[in-house]
């Protein structure tokens, strides 16, 4: 009697395990997917407002998506392994893309531009050329451990010791611009996305600044896959963002017109 009951239990457990092959994928398909966002140039500090807008947009698309913006690159890199998709600048992709097997999907676009540059801006009493920077104090948004790599990639291809100035790392691009404008540092390094934004909002801050060096063009921040389960669906959602009012609000928070496929990442 006991033997019969025991074998029933075993059969029950077996059937349950077998059925998992059918229902588990369905459950995981409806589980929330994490889009991790690090975009330090335009998103700014209103993370709560951004999440509200994003949640409202993704709810409307009837997709279970968790949208998690992060303000600091170190924290972003720590959280990266948990993400299904990421929105980030291309320099982060170049630093960690291979390590995490990250796949570029889309790039952001504004005024028809899919690329941006980095500038070295000289203040009123700053260096006349890039070669005169040695010994100067240069304001730049802090990028943690990848500062040197990004800087060398942008301007100083000669190696890790290629630049000979003191970096004063600030928390946001406008601080670097203000410091150069007010003569608190000799120069500032910012990208054209931030520079354009500051020029539009606070033109007097950039009046006395001169661009003394310009990097090659980089892709604007984009959407990347960390091995998400349904990339086509996410691509569609992002490309159709401009079709709804909440989507437009989200695009406006990113200061972009939309997302497009770009093949040469």
């Amino acid at each position: 009697m006991l033997k019969l009951r025991f074998s029933k239990i075993i059969v029950g457990v077996f059937l349950f395990c077998f059925s998992m092959f059918f229902w588990l994928p369905a459950v995981s398909a409806t589980a929330s997917e994490l889009i991790l966002v690090y975009e330090p140039y335009t998103l700014g500090a209103d993370m709560a407002g951004l999440v509200r807008t994003a949640d409202s947009f993704f709810d409307q698309t009837q997709n279970s998506i968790e949208f998690q913006p992060v303000a600091e690159v170190g924290q972003f890199l720590e959280m990266l392994p948990e993400a299904d998709y990421v929105v980030m600048p291309p320099w982060v992709y170049r630093q960690v893309g291979d390590e995490y097997d990250i796949e570029p999907l889309l790039v952001s676009e504004r005024n028809g531009q899919k690329e941006y540059n980095k500038f070295i801006l000289s203040g009123a009493n700053g260096p006349g050329t890039e070669d005169d920077l040695a010994g100067s104090e240069v304001g730049m948004m802090r990028l943690g451990d990848v500062t040197e790599a990004v800087l060398n990639e942008s301007f100083f291809a000669g190696g890790d010791d290629a630049y000979q100035f003191n970096i004063i790392d600030v928390s946001k691009p406008v601080d670097a611009v203000m410091a150069a404008s007010f003569g608190q540092v000799e120069a500032a390094i910012v990208n054209s996305i931030s520079f354009d934004l500051i020029s539009e909002e606070q033109p007097q801050l950039v009046d006395d600044l001169e661009i003394i060096a310009e990097s090659e063009a980089f892709s604007r921040p984009g959407l990347y896959s960390m091995g998400g389960s349904d990339e086509e669906r996410i691509i569609d959602i992002f490309m159709e963002m401009e079709g709804s009012s909440t989507g437009q609000e989200l695009l406006s928070r990113f200061q972009i017109d939309g997302w497009v496929i770009k093949n040469d990442f």
Binding site: G49, V170, E201
Partner: protein, 326 residues
């Protein structure tokens, strides 16, 4: 006898070889210089710059950064300094007034000579009489022009700024008037002598046309009761209230512009690097702090009919609650 002689010779040669091999290490140790960071106490205002300072100097060869906390205690400071008597630090980075005074007065006694020092987070540093031949630093308050520029990111039409001050912030107000003239910001100021006069000063300001009010760090003006009164009046008049620290943004100010501790550490590291590279301390002027911690409160913004969505792009953080207000 001969074998004994050769044995002795071999022994001498062996030790000579060992000593020769150790020489590079000895010279490496001699080249290693210490930069001593003295924190007045364990506060974020000191710990954060200290960490940023250490990180900024990480790439520099032959420098070791040692961070010590004097815990507002002179005996503790003396004990710490005595540890460096045989190998004094090349430079001291002093955080806070207590540590800076220790670097100026106690360090020469304990270390046998004056050590150049860089100080930060010292309010009213002019009053301590630091010797400019031997010391320099980063000022502790955000420059007024930076404060005005950031305020204009939230209040683009800022032209008339109301403020209440006491003799304690006279210098700051004088600076604000001068900078305001250059930047097109007229300062409408009301001076008070004691905290009890603040309510009347608020009434006075309420009847004048201003685009925003600014509460500078002034202990006579900013008491708990006075702050609540100023806040209520500002809300009633839909007036943006600019304050000087996060706690006041949490308590109902619209924005605060304060120094960025991390950047202060980074700036101090640049100054110390220059000194280590041979710059004369006397030629290094007191530096204005670069960068800010710019905070806003979206709940306060809604209360006075403002939207922070666009200006938040230039902020470090936006808070979404008012302490003590549901």
């Amino acid at each position: 006898m001969i074998s004994k002689f050769f044995y002795g010779l071999a022994k001498t040669a062996f030790f000579a070889l060992i000593l020769t091999l150790m020489l590079p290490w000895q010279s490496y140790a001699n080249n290693q210089e210490t930069v001593l960071v003295l924190k007045s106490e364990d506060l974020r205002a000191y710990s954060e710059p200290a960490q940023a300072f250490e990180r900024s100097l990480e790439g520099r060869e032959n420098i070791s950064v040692e961070i010590r906390d004097i815990e507002l205690n002179l005996s503790q400071a003396r004990e710490i300094l005595r540890e460096y008597r045989d190998n004094p630090p090349a430079v001291i980075f002093a955080l806070g007034a207590h540590a800076a005074v220790v670097a100026m007065e106690t360090a020469p006694d304990e270390l046998g000579r004056e050590i150049p020092f860089v100080f930060a987070s010292v309010l009213e540093w002019e009053e301590y009489g630091f010797n400019t031949e031997n010391s320099t630093g980063i000022k502790a308050q955000v420059p007024v022009q930076t404060l005005f520029a950031q305020s204009r990111m939230v209040i683009p039409d800022l032209e008339r700024l109301g403020l209440i001050y006491s003799p304690e912030s006279e210098a700051r107000v004088t600076e604000a008037k001068a900078v305001g003239e250059e930047m097109g910001v007229e300062i409408v100021a009301r001076r008070v002598e004691e905290p009890a006069e603040v309510e009347a000063a608020v009434e006075y300001l309420s009847n004048l046309e201003t685009d925003a009010w600014w509460l500078p760090a002034d202990p006579t003006v900013v008491t708990v009761d006075n702050f609540h009164y100023v806040r209520e009046q500002a809300w009633n008049l839909d007036k943006p209230l600019i304050v000087y620290s996060e706690s006041f943004v949490r308590a109902g100010g619209l924005v605060s512009v304060s120094i960025n501790y991390h950047t202060v550490g980074s700036q101090a590291a640049a100054v110390v690097s220059d000194i280590l590279d041979g710059a004369e301390v006397s030629e290094l002027k007191m530096a204005e702090p670069v960068g800010t911690e710019f905070l806003g409160n979206s709940r306060v913004a809604s209360t006075i009919g403002l939207d922070l969505t666009d200006s938040a792009r230039f902020m470090d953080r936006v808070l979404d609650e008012i302490e003590g207000v549901e």
